[in-house]
Each structure stands twice: as structure tokens, then as C-alpha cells.
């Protein structure tokens, strides 16, 4: 599973975004791979899109099967790991959505699709391993 974060979803929906073209190119490269959206990321994206017409693009894309909305952390009963991760990185004042994404990718065969460099340079898994990314961050 590829977990999309809000920076990617915003770029996919808003073609005026500076990363819109890159987001579509990467989506093309993911053909056949399953893309998932977590509820914390969906909430964050909803705010960031700001307007009803951009949100319509997101909702219709999700409804049309562009990606699935899932709750991987709850499914694995791993919310405790999210709290531990947030404590570990407390000094960086991390977002809940980012903590949730990192713990969601603790499972093998999953990775994060993001444009946020902190996933490459700051955040690690609880065991110190690098966070798996769907695409390298430039």
C-alpha cells in the first residue's frame, strides 16, 4: 500500500499547485499499486484545499476509486505506537497526521508518498529505521 500524504493530495487536486505536475507524473508511475488515504491526512487535506470546488475534485476522485480511505493503525491496534512516536519526537512538535503515517508504514510492503522532506531527513520508525518512501524526495 502507498499512503498518500496531504502535500500530494493537495497537489493532485489543485493544478495551480507548484507540485501539481510532479504529483500527476508520480501517480502515473504508480499504475497498478494501491493508494491509500488515512483519516488524519484526509482531514488535513480538507482544510488545505480551502474551497468547495477543490474538495469536490478530491471527493469525486476518492469515490471513483482513485484511492481508498483506510484506518491502518486502528486495524493493527497500533495507536499506542503513535503516542510513543509523538513522545519520541516531541521537540520537533510533530503533527498527528505525520505520526500516524509513519506508524502505518511500519508494516512491510507499505510506503509514504509525500513531498515533505522531513519524512526523509527527520522522521524515523520507532526502531530507528528509515521511513520507506514511494519516491525519493528532491
Amino acid at each position: 500500500m502507498i499512503w498518500a500524504d496531504s502535500s500530494v493530495l493537495v497537489a493532485l487536486c489543485d493544478r495551480s499547485d507548484a507540485l501539481a505536475q510532479r504529483a500527476v507524473e508520480q501517480l502515473q508511475l504508480l499504475k497498478g499499486r494501491k493508494v491509500g488515504v488515512t483519516l488524519p491526512v484526509l482531514t488535513e487535506t480538507w482544510h488545505l484545499l480551502e474551497t468547495a470546488w477543490l474538495r469536490k475534485i478530491l471527493v469525486e476522485w476518492l469515490r471513483g476509486g482513485g484511492a481508498t480511505v483506510e484506518s491502518p493503525v486502528e486495524q493493527r491496534d497500533a495507536l499506542g505506537d503513535v503516542w510513543r512516536w509523538l513522545e519520541k519526537y516531541e521537540e520537533h512538535d510533530p503533527d498527528f497526521a505525520d505520526a500516524y503515517l509513519v506508524i502505518a508504514t511500519a508494516e512491510k510492503k507499505s510506503s509514504i508518498w509525500t513531498f515533505d522532506r522531513e519524512f526523509a531527513h527527520v522522521w524515523r520508525q520507532l526502531d530507528g529505521a528509515r521511513v520507506r518512501l514511494a519516491f525519493p524526495l528532491r
Partner: protein, 114 residues
Amino acid sequence: MEMGKLLNVRLSAEEAAMVAQLRQKGVAASDVVRNALRAEYLRQGGGQGAPLGPVELLLWLRERHAAPAAWKGRQVHAWDRKEVAAFLRKRLKAKRKRRVMGEERGGGGGEKCE
């Protein structure tokens, strides 16, 4: 447009109330049905076979929902976590303020539905 077949749709009480409210706002249920039908037809590949894939669907939706003329662009860079956090704090604070003010006025919330 030449009109042909008539489509009968049985509505629940809730849906019938929606139709009545839309009619009051000048929206005809028949237009809603036609638009939804065309949208779904296109999404399913426009009669060409397979439904649209994630990329094609996204590009089609971007075309379909064009930016309003007055659109000045979003205010925040979504890849910058600190900028996002500041934006969300400001937005949620304003939302909370609207809600509290609405309650003080006895408006039962007074929050605009988004």
C-alpha cells in the same frame, strides 16, 4: 435537446424533501439527474469500455471543476509542515471563535457549514 425516454425514480421521504428544498432554490431535480448521469457515464469510460483509471479520472475531474474566475490561489504550501501547522491553527482558531460567538448570541453554534 430532443427529449425521449422518461426515467421514473422512486424517492425516499428524505430524498423527496431534498428535491423540494432544491426546487425552492431554483434547482430542478431533472437537471441534477442529467448531470449525475453524464458524469457517471464519462467516469465509466464514456461507453469506450473500462472505467477511467486514477490518472485519467483525476485529469477529467480537474477539467470538470475549473477554478472560479475570482480564484486567487491557495494560501499555503502543503509540503511545508510548519506552514501547514500555522495555517491549520489559524483556521481552527477562527472556526472556534465563530462557534463561541454564535453560542453567546444564542445562535446554537452559528457556524457556517463547510
